[in-house]
Structures are given as C-alpha cells and as structure tokens.
Symmetry: C2
Subunit: 441 residues, 2 copies
C-alpha cells in the first residue's frame, strides 16, 4: 500500500515536472536535422529508443567529447573515443544513440555492434567512414538487439529527420530511460554581430536495476569553432555543469557528452589562440551557462527528488578545492536526507566540509567557515554559522525557507583566495529507495 | 501512518538486535573498573549519559588513540589528543565520556569544559594531572550542561564503579546515542603461556539530527605493552576495523578510538622491536580481530539496516587499493538500495569498482574482474561475473541467497598482486530515510 501511494505520487510529480521543464518551443541552429523513432530495443513495442543527429552544412563540422572515467567503459564509449581521436575532432557529422540497452559489459560482440551502428549510419547518410559517434544507455550485460537497430537507422535517417521543435523533442525522448521527461534546452547569443544558436539534449535520472545512471548529452551550434577550441571549451563547461551535479554520486560506464559545431551561421572562426581570445571567452561563457542549464535538468529529474539545491562555495583557495567541498556536501546521504526532511541541519553540512579531501590543509579553516541559506523567493538570507560559530537559528524561518523546492546554500570558506564553485544536487527521499530497491523483474 | 508503522517495525528490530548482539556475560581484564550513570545531559532525566573507566593496577598504563581526520575537531578530541601526545601514551589511567551532547563547534567554552572534565576526574581518582582522556557524543553546537557532568563524575567514581558484567553494560550504555543496543565485546587469548583478556565497547549508529554519526570506542587489556607498540597495533587494527565499515560514509567531528593496556596479567613486556616480534604479531592479530568484532556491531546497528554485508576484495595490487575498491562499493547508494531490494545487481557493483579512486591504473583490469556471492548458510557460491564476462545468473538462487540477513560479496581483481581487504556495510532502507529525514524538534 505504501509503495502504491509512492508510485502514484511519482506519476503526479512526473507529469508536473514535464509541464514545468519541457519547453513548448525552441530556436534551433542552422544546418542540423534530428529525430527519434521506436526501433525495437525497448520492450513495450512503442517507446522511442533510437535517436539520430545529422549535420547538413558541409562535411567539416568540428566535434569534441568528454567520456566517463569509469574503468569499465562501455563499447560505444570505446568506439566513439577512438573515432574522435583518429579524426582529431574534424569531420564528425552525425551521432546515433539508442536507449533501452547500454551495450556495456558485452565483450567483443558489443564492440562490433557499436562499430556496425557507425558503419550503417555513415553509409545511409553518405558520410565518409568514421564520421559518426555512437552512444547507448539502458540495461547492462546484455547484447544489443542489433538487427532492430541497424534496420531502424535507415528508416530514421531517410524519413524521420527534420529541424522542427517536435523533431528535437522526439530525439530527446529517444535517449530517455528512467527519465520522467525529455531534456531539451535551446538558446541564442550574439558574437561579433552574428546571432548563434545552441540546442542540446541530455538524459540522466538514475539507475533502475540493472540500468546505469548514465549521463548522455549532446549539443550543437552553428558557430564556427576549431576542434581544439571546442574541446577546450567543452572540458571547461562539463567540469562546471555535468561534472558538478550529483543525484546519487555514482558514475556510469557510458557517460558521454558531445558537442558539434558546423559554422552554418557564418562569422569569424573561433580559435583558442590569443588573436580571438575575446570571442573564445564569450563562447566559453555561453556554452558553460548552456551546459549548466542542461545539467540542472538532470538534477530536477533525480530519482525521487523533491528538492533542487545549489551549493555555492565562496572564497576558496582554488576552484578545485571549492568544488571538492561542494561535492562532499552534495554526496552526503545525511545532508540529502536532512533536506528531504526540511531540516536546517548545519551540523551535517559542517561535517561534510570537514571530511572533504581538499588538496591543501589551508583550504578549510574552522574559525573562518560560514554557512547560510539563500531563500528562493528573494527574501533575506539566513545565517546558520558565522566564522565557525553557530548562530541562534530561527527554526520557524528555516522551515519556511525549506518548504520551497529550490534552495541555495552558501558556504564561505573565508580563506582569502576568492575562488568559487557551484554544484547542484537533490534530496534523498523514500521514493529514491523505493525506485532503486525494486526487484529488477 | 507509514512513518508510524516504520517506527513500530524499528522498535521490533531494535529489541531483536539487543537480544542477539548484547552478550549475557563476559570475561574482563584484571585491574580495570568501569561504570555509567545518568548525570543530567540526556533530557529524559534517566538514561545513562556519563561513563568512566579507571585503571586500578598501578599508575603507568600504556595508552594509544586514533582520532577523526575531520577538520572540525570537537573540543574533547582536541583536549585528548593533546594529553596523549604530551604524555607520550604513558600514565593514562582513566577515561571519561558523556553522551547526549558532542561538545562540538562550541568555541573556547567547549575546550574549557572538556579540560574541566579531565581535571575533575583526575582529582577524584587521585591521578596525577592529565592522566584522563575525554570523549563526547551527541548534539553539536550546544555547550555541555557542564555542572551536571562535573557533579556526576565524583558520584560515578566513588560509588558506581566495578568490574561486573553489569558495570560494563552500564558503561557501554552510557555512551549510546541513537544506538539501539549497547556494544560490548570481551575475549581471552594466550601468549607465551599467559592468558590475557580484552574488553571493549563502542557506539555508532548514525545521526539523529543534529547528532553526529560519531564512532566512539575504547578497549582495555591486562597485557603488558609499550605505548609505541600499542599505538602501532591500534593504528593497524583501526584501519582494518573501524575504518573499514560504512553506514552512510560520513565521518564525524568526534570519532575517537582509545586502547589502554595495564599489564596486570603479567608476562613479558611486548614491544615492537624485533626481539619480541612474534609476541607483537600475535597481539596485533588478536587486537585486530577483536576490533573487527566491535566495529561489526556498529554496522549491525546501522540506522534502518536490514542487511549485513562483508565485501572481500581479493588479489589486488596493494592492500590500499583493495580497500579503496571495497569502500567505493560500500558507499554506493545504488549498491546499498539494491541490497535492500534483494537484487543481485552486479552492474552496480562493477560500476562502483570502475569509478573507485585506486592509486594505480593497473589495479583494475576489466577483463580480469570477477564478482561472486558467498551465501551465509555455507552453500555453494554464486558467480555473477567471471573475468569481466557476465554469467547467466539463476535469479531464483540469487533471491534465495539475498533473503538471508548476512552476505559476503567476493570481488577478485585478478591482478596477481595477491593483496586482500575486507569491508563491512549495511543496506540503505526506507527506514534510514525516515530516521534521518525527521525534523530535529
């Protein structure tokens, strides 16, 4: 009875989240078409499970990618990383992804299947060889139903690609697993008088046994960027977005974030050299902000999440140590359950700061550490701890702030170093345990 | 209604655990007396909250201690570590501990209170100054009700100390916070024809906001050991016991493990030098085994725990990397919820192995990694993964194995290094979230 009521609640949250976080319209970059179909990986016979993206603007797009650091790298991660390395990020013109099966821990057959997905996509799209990256997400330890996928690719490529909002929604839906809504963000910005567009999608949510909590994401732009500049920007942006979120702290065998830039909107080529340093900085800022919007959707859709928490660590000795402190709090089960319980428990925050593996012993000075809640309604912040001394907390005010779904927690390390990091996380709820404790059957 | 039923269930489990894990009798080392009373820290007016241990055999006992590495060290940790350092582990003859208040994040008043506990204990017991170590556990951020404690110490020291089983149970009970049962272990062993006795107690459980998940433990023996040998043995034993368990992965501001040896049983002095190397090794093995028994009680009493899991990582390149791999699995919320759900989810185990921060890139070789379940009833083991290839798992058999409370999971890293580590953890249940998500009020 308990589990049923939780499931009912989950459905309500899910549809509520879809209404709030799935855009009704979007602006899309020039020269890209996308789509998604059901190919027969997912067993319900209808859910979208195959996604394709194609660059139609010439054949020399730049691509960059960041892959999982998990030692057990799934077949598509091995194949895609090899391709992007061999091509030095130049001439990657399409991307194929399936959901429902992660093609992970699948031996040599798994590698062959991932390679076949690349070969068939390149052939159907008339690419030169190794112009496609491949991604998979879903159940691990089973081989792909590869025939279904290989016969799905031409069907999708030849009759189901386009650049309408619905095509992008379909593409985003086709990479979902336990996600309760498709994750799509679009954005425009100006650079040297030219308007550029960014569109991106991702999936996250978490693991339903034995699915992996895979993070897959890809975004494209019509700005002209060299592969090395794009790789540098992507690394910077992923550090501050997809690598600065935590649902349950686990990192999957399949995590992959890809960026492709085709230059279709024209303008001056953006390089990382000093001559175009300003353009480079602007693009880096725009892409980082965009990647943060995408990554935050994964936290919004965290399994069982009822709270969205931004941890802002200020005045650290280094960005790295600021992030280590934020990550330590974000991954504390005790902190996350306190947030679920709407409990202003600064003790658990302090504790997680204290055991974080910072690189310097000067990074945490108990007598200079301060913690505050910043309410989401713009009202005054609530100090919990100032310079290591606990404040007399107005519990009624704290409860009021914690009633809201959104909360910013500010940690001031007071080191004088001035460095800052942000990290996004959710709470740990009964529903998380219910979802993840279920039998696989 | 849900919460009520969980609480009822929790009470049932608790009394069940007390019946199973609290010994009805014990053997106690010579020359020590202990006790516990209610002094007025716990607000119910009756629960035991002040514990004392006194060495009656001469005044030159050896002591060793391992303290939390959390940057926010509570006042008693600061005071005790200073005393043991100044005395070089010689002449520590008593130990005073309170529960109900951790004396953490309490500023200069906190330090003075901890020092006063030492001064009053030394005075009442007619010790020379700084012969007492102090510990506290409980709520953080509030100053101790120090007058209650300071007037409780003489009452406890003068009329409530003894060496009966009940005195030891009272002492173990007086350091409990959210523990559902007092944790006490006793043991005898022979060395060079002399029988020595070990008795120890500890507390753990986890946090009830804003209590800390403090690990406190102390054990005593009547064996004759030098302070430096005892410190070396304690460090080794704690690494393989209290530092090889995980309830929720958080490390508190107060964690302290102390060992005292008074030599009352006689025999040759055990030193770490080569001349007594064999005696040293035997004592180290006995104390490590003893500390593991104590530490395992903390996992048994993990908040909301329904499973007791031993992770055994074999054939690693180093003990350190074996332990890092085991710890990574033990701290994965996804693994822990799968265990709660009785799900043979080798994917989550593999995933946690893959993202563990091992020190060498040679330490994890996907194609050589094997995972098996070892049933607690002595029946045949169930292989889930052999040399990186998933086995076709008999789910009925897996479910049967997972019905039992106890389970050993064996991870064979196949590196050829032959090193091994064990780690103990529990599952992550609905009840854990209920306990830790509750309002503090």
């Amino acid at each position: 009875m308990y589990v049923k009521s939780i499931v009912r609640q989950s459905v309500r949250y899910a549809s509520d989240k879809a209404a709030r976080f799935v855009p009704k319209t979007g602006v899309y970059p020039k020269g890209f078409v996308v789509g998604g179909i059901h190919s027969g990986v997912k067993k319900d016979g209808k859910s979208l499970d195959l996604a394709l993206l194609k660059n139609e603007f010439g054949k020399e797009a730049s691509a960059a990618a960041v892959f999982t650091t998990n030692k057990f790298r799934a077949a598509p991660v091995q194949v895609s990383s090899k391709i992007i390395k061999e091509k030095k990020g130049k001439g990657i013109n399409s991307l194929v992804a399936n959901s429902g099966n992660a093609n992970a821990v699948t031996g040599s057959q798994g590698i062959k299947d991932a390679e076949d997905m690349v070969i068939v996509t390149d052939s159907v799209l008339e690419n030169s060889s190794n112009s496609t990256l491949v991604m998979s997400t879903g159940v691990i330890g089973n081989n792909l139903p590869i025939d279904n996928i290989l016969s799905g690719i031409p069907k999708l490529a030849l009759t189901n690609l386009g650049n309408t909002h619905q095509h992008w929604i379909d593409c985003a839906t086709a990479i979902c697993t336990t996600d309760t809504f498709p994750k799509l963000v679009t954005k425009q910005f100006e650079l040297n008088g030219v308007t550029y567009t960014l569109a991106g999608l991702c999936k996250g949510a978490g693991m339903i046994c034995p699915n992996m909590a895979t993070l897959l994401g890809f975004f494209v732009t019509d700005a002209p960027v060299t592969p090395s500049a794009l790789q540098q920007i992507l690394k910077y942006a992923v550090d501050r977005s997809f690598n600065s979120i935590s649902v349950d702290g686990d990192m999957s065998t399949n995590d992959t974030i890809v960026a492709i830039a085709n230059g279709a909107a024209g303008g001056e080529l953006i390089e990382s050299s000093s001559s175009s340093a300003t353009s480079f900085s602007i693009l880096q800022r725009e892409i980082t902000d965009f990647a943060q919007q995408l990554a935050q959707l994964v936290v919004r859709d965290g399994e069982g999440a009822t709270k969205f928490i931004e941890l802002k660590v200020k005045d650290a000795l280094s960005y790295k140590d600021a992030k280590i402190v934020a990550s330590s709090i974000a991954n504390s089960s005790l902190f996350k359950t306190a947030m679920y319980g709407k409990d202003a428990n600064w003790g658990r925050i302090l504790c997680a700061i204290g055991y974080s593996n910072v690189t310097s012993s000067e990074s945490i000075i108990p007598s200079r550490t301060s913690v505050s809640f910043i309410p989401s309604d713009g009202s005054e912040k609530l100090d919990l701890l100032i310079d290591g001394e606990p404040e007399l907390v107005d519990e009624a005010r704290a409860s009021q702030i914690l009633e809201a779904e959104d909360l910013v927690i500010e940690i001031d390390l007071g080191t004088g170093g001035g460095q800052e990091a942000k990290f996004w996380t959710c709470d740990l709820s009964h529903e998380y345990v219910t979802i993840n404790g279920d039998y696989r059957s």
